[in-house]
Every structure is written in C-alpha cells, then in structure tokens.
Amino acid sequence: MHIPDGLLDPITTLVLWIVTITFMILGYFRMGRMFEKEDSEKLIPYIGVLAAIIFAFQFVNYPVPGGTSGHLVGGTLVAIILGPWASVIVLFLILVIQSLFGDGGITAIGANTFNMGIISGIVGFYLVMLFVRILNNTSLKKELKVTIATAIGSYISIVLASFICGIEIGISGTIPIEIAVPAMVFWHILIGIGEGIISALIVYYIYKTKPDFITTESILKVK
C-alpha cells in the first residue's frame, strides 16, 4: 500500500502530512508511561528487533490469487507491542527509510503514515481492544484472546486502510473514486488475511516467550 510520488494531488498530500505530523507530536506526549520509567532503556534493544521484523516482513511479498501480492504492514502489531501512539512514529520512520530505496514516495510519506500508522496502527489497536473485550467473555487463555483479537483487528484495519487509500486516490483525481475504492478494498480483503495471520503469530510468539514486551496488556484489559 506504499503510495508513490506523483499519485496524490498537492492538497491531499499536504493535508495528510499535517495530520500525520500532528499525530506524531501528540504521540510523543501521549506515549505510555513505560518510556518514562527508570529502566525504560531496556526496551530499546527490543524496539530495534521490532524495527528489523517490521522492515524484513514488509519485504515478504506473499502471492495472492489473481496475480497480485501482499506484504505485512505491521501497524496494528506495533501498536499492540508499543502502544498505538508509538506505532505512528515507528511506521513513519520505517516509511522514511523505505522511501530511500524508492519503496513509497518521499512526498507521500504523510499519506502512507496516515494509512499504515494511524489507520492500521491506532484504529487497529482499538479494534483489537474491542475484540479482546468480546473474547473476555470466553474461557480462552489470555494469549489466545490477544492472538485472535490481533488477527481480526489487524485484518479489519488493513481493509479499512485500503478503503481510505482508495478515497485518497479518488479525491486526487488519479482514478475515479467509484473504481479506486472497490478495487483497493477487493485486493486488500485478500491481502489482509496474510496481515492477520502474520501479526497474530508474532503476537502469540511474543506472548509465550517475552510477555512483558507486550506493553499494552493493561490497556487491552485481557482477563
């Protein structure tokens, strides 16, 4: 879903940059207390590993029926591990690095961060929270509740992000909105399955091996 340069019109590009920068500033101030603790530097190596995972997995182009491919976005995944506000900053930085290789446009970083960091990250996180609340009424183990909620939440967030991306393309006049939106959503209904599965597997693995790395457990209120 990396929007290249030249696809969106200047006004849409500018508005999305303003929104993204606003969210990043808010994110800095609203990031969880874990970054203020005495031993918060201990999180830093894990953030490095997470960065590597997100970058590497964004390279994983899995084939999707119909002659296309998908890759992990990781917004919801990062939001569950580091919190929704941190996910915007993480995705922004990864998108900047990817733009150095020509993967996603430099002028489109605002739009890409909006779609992958804010929609997939923040909205995805709150979707996961919603599904955790629903699953709290079951007798499933904690890690399974978070895993299943992650799968569903990240899937929906990707489809939603593709919907928004379709609107951005339509508003910019690149492709008529009545074509762009259904086409984007159609492909991402398929691509999102991979996002859901990969995100869920990573969360499950972390929950089993290093559960305290999931810093949002208290916010998710898993019972």
């Binding site: 879903m1 990396h2 929007i3 290249p4 340069d5 030249g6 696809l7 800095y28 990031m31 970054f35 203020e36 918060s40 530097e41 999180l43 830093i44 953030i47 490095g48 997470l50 960065a51 590597a52 995972i53 997100i54 970058f55 590497a56 997995f57 390279f59 994983v60 182009n61 899995y62 084939p63 999707v64 119909g66 002659g67 296309t68 491919s69 900053i89 993480v90 930085l93 990864i94 900047v96 690095i97 990817q98 733009s99 150095l100 290789f101 020509g102 446009g105 430099i106 002028t107 593709s162 379709g166 393309i169 690149t174 492709i175 762009a180 086409a183 984007m184 492909w187 691509i191 990573i202």
Partner: protein
Amino acid sequence: MVVIAVGFTIGFLSENPDGLERVLIDYYGEEWLENLFSPWIPFLSWITNDYVAGIIGVILSITVLMGTFYLITRLKKKKLE
C-alpha cells in the same frame, strides 16, 4: 534472527505487484506507473540486489528506531526531573 532470515528467504518469491500497484496497473498500465513524477531520485535506489537492500534497510531501521526511542526516553525522563 530466524524471523529475518525467513523473511529474506521467502520475501522475494512473489514478483507480482502489490494491491495498490495492481489497481494502478489495471487502470493505467505498467508503463504509466513507472513514469510517475518524483521530485527526487531515492538515495539508495542504485542498490539493485534485493538482499543487499534488505540487509542495509534492516540495519538502518534498527539504528534509526533505537536512536529515536532512546532520545524519546531520555527527553521524557529529563522532563520528569
């Protein structure tokens, strides 16, 4: 490290365009997509080998993110003092 290795191993199996590219190619064709205006030449686009690009990207990601969050934690703690 296993995750990264797996990612690289299977990451280049699909040469097909991703969802957004597919939509654009279906509407305009591949040539149109390749000729979109860009205000710059990406600094690292000269790296043609996917594996080299991937390794450099991972190293950059780790460095930039660790550096950024280290700064963030220091700033937040300083504010508390």
